[in-house]
């Protein structure tokens, strides 16, 4: 780049500390105008923090930010918006009970008012980018893809010239990802600058003009996609090759451990059925993967098997025993281990010590309790065992769960759920948001469980994980199982189209 064209964004020596964590340390990043610049790094590497700093949500402890040649400092996102930066967050920032229009004009009421002029402007923008969006629809009625488009509209409405997208593909299937990438290229063609955060290397290679790698909070290198392979990027990202979930020799037996037949679930709010006529079996030593776009009934299926929700029809048999009418506690006692999809909300008491978290889900069983009383000594001793054998990195078992990293929290949960000799392990997004080290460890634990003869129900949005670990994959769409694919032959793209309701590959 010549000296005359100023860079779009230049970050120099950015540092940011949280208690006990250095999220960013001496980060240097140069983004050229009119390019798609990817920032990659594993979970917890500090990508999101960096982008929040660039968007003014958080203030850096050190370093300087330069936008289009001018040094700036942001005290709130308003300042970032003023210099033409927009951000689409990983977790959408939308008020459900507001209309699309209200969500878009909020904070930018001065541009085109809050009424008809704004509505017209939104329609213009939407049609310019081919978004099918009704400005007066309530956001709560929109699907994931539409919400993302509203988020992008929010940014465009404010006339942003630099757009940050934080893990935008995490919630999309491959086909939607392609659509999004088309949109990004269009934005680029109009001279906008896109900063694209991801940890999926193949995607990054597909869309980026330049790639900056972040590792443990600091920038390692900036490369051009033509010069590198996914393997090179992985080495830059984690210092070694990425772990692979590849399958081992089949351990599938013909002994059925879990049999679900004819299970359904009605939407209590009167929408279409959440689950319809679900039937499948899992054998001893088998991993059944469930593929599906999120929100197609996977969570509900797990909750029905766990007894958290109740199916009006059908039966669930575990190890030959009918459990359809039993409580969650009884089902757990019968031998279900459960790694929930959201560990913070469903898996842990964040502000309780680890040993109390060990009791969770095992309140009725030794070593955690005896005759209605909590066995503190037993629970503590067993927590020590889990911490050691599952390599949970913690100063001690009196540490609160919140203080641990995502990966260590998840290892604790896996260790807990593998206690008490389960026969069925339900793992919902077991490696979501954890670092590669923990990811590899958790994959190993799932493989071990399979080898030990457990039946495993695996739900994941990570298609590589699903294909790698599963013996069979069932595809779920709108609350029904619509087909099965063979993980040995299927590709992620084929799986993706099956998930959106296109032809199921044979």
């Amino acid at each position: 780049m010549s000296d005359e064209t100023p860079v779009a964004v230049r970050l120099t020596g950015i540092g940011k500390r949280f208690p006990g964590v250095i999220a960013n340390d001496d980060v240097n990043l140069t983004v050229h105008p009119g390019t798609v610049h990817a920032v990659v790094g594993e979970n917890g590497a500090g990508k999101s923090t960096l982008m929040k700093i660039l968007y003014g949500v958080q203030a850096p402890d050190s370093g300087t930010i330069e936008v289009e040649g001018n040094q700036v400092s942001f005290s709130s996102p308003a300042d970032a918006i003023d210099v033409g930066i927009g951000m689409v967050f990983q977790h959408f920032q939308l008020a459900d009970n507001f209309t699309v229009l209200e969500n878009i004009v909020l904070g930018a009421e001065k541009l085109h008012g809050t009424g008809e002029r704004a509505r017209r402007r939104i329609r213009e923008l939407a049609s310019a980018y081919g978004f099918a969006i009704n400005p007066d629809a309530l956001v709560e009625h929109l699907g994931v893809g539409a919400r993302q488009r509203v988020e992008i509209l929010k940014v465009l409405y404010r006339g942003a010239r630099i757009i940050i997208l934080d893990e935008p593909t995490a919630v999309l299937v491959p086909q939607e990802v392609d659509e999004l990438f088309d949109n990004l290229r269009e934005l680029k063609a109009e001279g906008l600058t896109v900063i694209f955060i991801s940890h999926k290397l193949d995607e990054v290679l597909k869309v980026a003009d330049e790639i900056t790698v972040i590792r443990r909070g600091t920038t390692v290198d900036t490369v051009v996609p033509a010069d590198v392979t996914a393997r090179d990027l992985a080495t830059l990202m984690v210092g070694s090759e990425l772990p692979s979930p590849a399958t081992e020799v089949s351990t599938v037996t013909d002994q059925v451990l879990l049999e679900v037949s004819g299970v359904g679930l009605v939407d209590p709010h009167g929408g279409r059925d959440l689950l319809t006529d679900i039937r499948f079996t899992i054998h001893r030593g088998e991993v059944l993967g469930i593929a599906g776009v999120e929100g197609n009934g996977q969570s509900e299926l797990v909750e029905v098997i766990m007894g958290i929700r109740h199916s009006p029809a059908g039966t669930i048999r575990l190890a030959g025993r009918e459990i359809s009418d039993e409580s969650t506690t009884r089902r757990r006692e019968t031998g279900i281990g459960y790694i929930p999809e959201d560990r913070h909300r469903h898996g842990l008491l964040l502000d309780s010590p680890l040993w109390e978290n060990r009791i969770l889900g095992h309140q009725t069983r030794p070593p955690c309790s005896r005759r209605g009383f909590i066995d503190r000594a037993g629970a503590r001793a067993d927590t020590e065992r889990i911490v050691t054998s599952y390599d949970v990195r913690t100063p001690g078992i009196d540490t609160h769960a919140r203080a641990l990293s995502g990966g260590n929290q998840q290892k604790l949960i896996v260790g807990r759920e593998m206690s008490g000799d389960p026969v069925l392990l339900i793992a919902a997004h077991p490696t979501r948001g954890v670092d590669v080290g923990a990811q590899a460890a958790i994959w190993d634990h799932i493989k071990t469980a399979r080898r030990k003869g457990l039946a495993v129900l695996l739900i994941s949005a990570d298609l590589d994980e699903l294909i790698g670990l599963s013996d069979r994959i069932a595809v779920m769409l709108r609350g029904a199982l619509v087909g099965e694919v063979d993980p040995r032959t299927v590709t992620p793209t084929q799986l993706g189209s099956a998930m959106t309701g296109a032809e199921v590959p044979a």
Partner: protein
């Protein structure tokens, strides 16, 4: 771009309940007709007399203002059960300034004292992230204590005053609305089923109207305009629905939350001024739980100004009835509510909501039986009306109620995204 554009189907865009004058008039006519019929059937003349209506408005305004206070705070995501305390502060303020400098000073000082209460709540909940309920309880304790302490300090030894009572306070001027007031009274003299009652209601609403009532009405309309038709209101409501999203769009959430909670206190304080004006004096215990009733009216009204006014009107009406041959009047009202509930049950049955229909019918039949089996209702029970009504509404229609999504949640800057 290749994505096929298709318009979102009509039924997916939720039509928000729009204000319509036609329905409002039909509703008012229906209420008058029902009350008139009730008066004819039971002979309880006070259920629709001009006196009752005038009293109902006076009783409803402080409730509505407290409810408005609740609305401001909760629309910005701050639960405010400290309304009672803020209202108490308002009554003291009105008494303190009122007896010395007249009704306008009373109003200003009541608003000021209520705002101070709001400030305490705002500092605790918005500034320090204290649980909203805890802070509300504390504000109630502080408000009551402060008013009692200050009253003892300033009113003791003053002519007509004492530790629990202020010297007499001059009232706001009242006026008759020309034409309407006369027409109403004339109509009420006639003996035609609907017109008599309509006249009485009209006369009650337009005769000896206090300037304070006009100010209160202006607050209600003003709140509605401000919160739903300005960008300021959009931002305030965004703070109640999803403050993080507002933050990421550069909205200073703290500023809007503070503003809303201060406004909340001001409204509650104004409600206190009403009570003092109505009684011409500050008295210890004057609010009598009206802050809570206001909260109830707001929930009853589904966190919307129109519903809130309806709730406050209903509660004010029952309150007014109590003072006007309450035993007989409320006894008559039982029949109306009973029949109304049975009608609602039939409607629900038609909608195939059997459980709700059953419960509603049971309550309705119970009330009718109660009406037939007794001759009058003890005055204690009329005082319960707002609370039982709110519990019933919550119990029967909780699915249709929608409070702001982030109501009561703690918000810290910098945690968005």
């Amino acid at each position: 771009m290749s994505t096929p554009t298709h318009e979102v189907p009509r039924d997916e865009t939720v039509t928000r309940s729009r204000f319509s004058w036609g329905w409002l008039l039909i509703g008012i006519a229906g209420v008058i007709l029902a009350l008139g019929a009730l008066r004819t059937v039971t002979g309880a003349d006070d259920v629709a007399s001009a006196g009752t209506m005038g009293a109902a408005v006076r009783a409803a305004m402080p409730i509505a203002l407290a409810g408005l206070g609740g609305l401001w705070a909760e629309r910005a995501g701050v639960v405010n059960i400290g309304l009672e305390g803020m209202m108490i502060l308002g009554t003291f303020g009105a008494g303190f300034a009122g007896y010395q400098w007249g009704p306008w000073a009373a109003l200003a000082f009541a608003v000021f004292m209520g705002t101070v209460g709001g400030l305490i709540h705002a500092i605790a909940t918005v500034g320090f992230g204290v649980d909203h309920i805890v802070s509300g309880v504390a504000v109630n304790i502080i408000g009551l204590g402060a008013a009692q302490y200050l009253a003892a300090l300033t009113f003791t030894g003053k002519p007509g005053g004492g530790p629990t009572q202020s010297p007499p306070v001059e009232r706001m001027p009242t006026f008759d609305i020309p034409g309407l007031s006369w027409a109403g009274r004339e109509l009420a003299q006639t003996d035609l089923v609907f017109l008599t009652d309509a006249g009485a209601v009209l006369a009650g609403l337009t005769t000896r109207v206090s300037l304070l009532t006009v100010i209160g009405l202006a607050c209600i309309v003003g709140t509605w305009l401000l919160l739903w038709h300005t960008s300021f209101g959009l931002r305030v409501r965004a703070c109640g629905e999803n403050p993080q999203s507002a933050e990421t769009l550069g909205v200073n959430v703290y500023l809007y939350k503070y503003s809303a909670v201060l406004a909340s206190g001001a409204m509650a304080g104004l409600g206190g001024a009403f009570l003092v004006d109505d009684a011409s004096v500050y008295r210890d215990g004057q609010t009598g739980g009206r802050g809570y009733i206001g909260l109830a009216a707001m929930i009853f009204g589904n966190w919307r100004p129109g519903g809130l006014v309806a709730g406050a009107g209903l509660f004010g009406y029952t309150d007014a009835l109590r003072l006007r041959r309450g035993g007989e009047s409320v006894h008559a009202l039982l029949l109306l509510i009973g029949v109304g509930l049975i009608a609602l049950a039939v409607w629900w049955l038609w909608k195939r909501k059997v459980a709700q229909a059953g419960v509603t019918a049971a309550f309705g039949v119970g009330l009718v039986v109660l009406h037939l089996a007794t001759d009058s209702v003890p005055s204690d029970f009329t005082g319960m009306t707002p609370f039982i009504a709110t519990l019933l509404v919550l119990g029967l229609a909780s699915q249709r109620l929608r409070m702001p999504k982030a109501d009561g949640q703690r918000y810290r800057r910098g945690e968005a995204g």
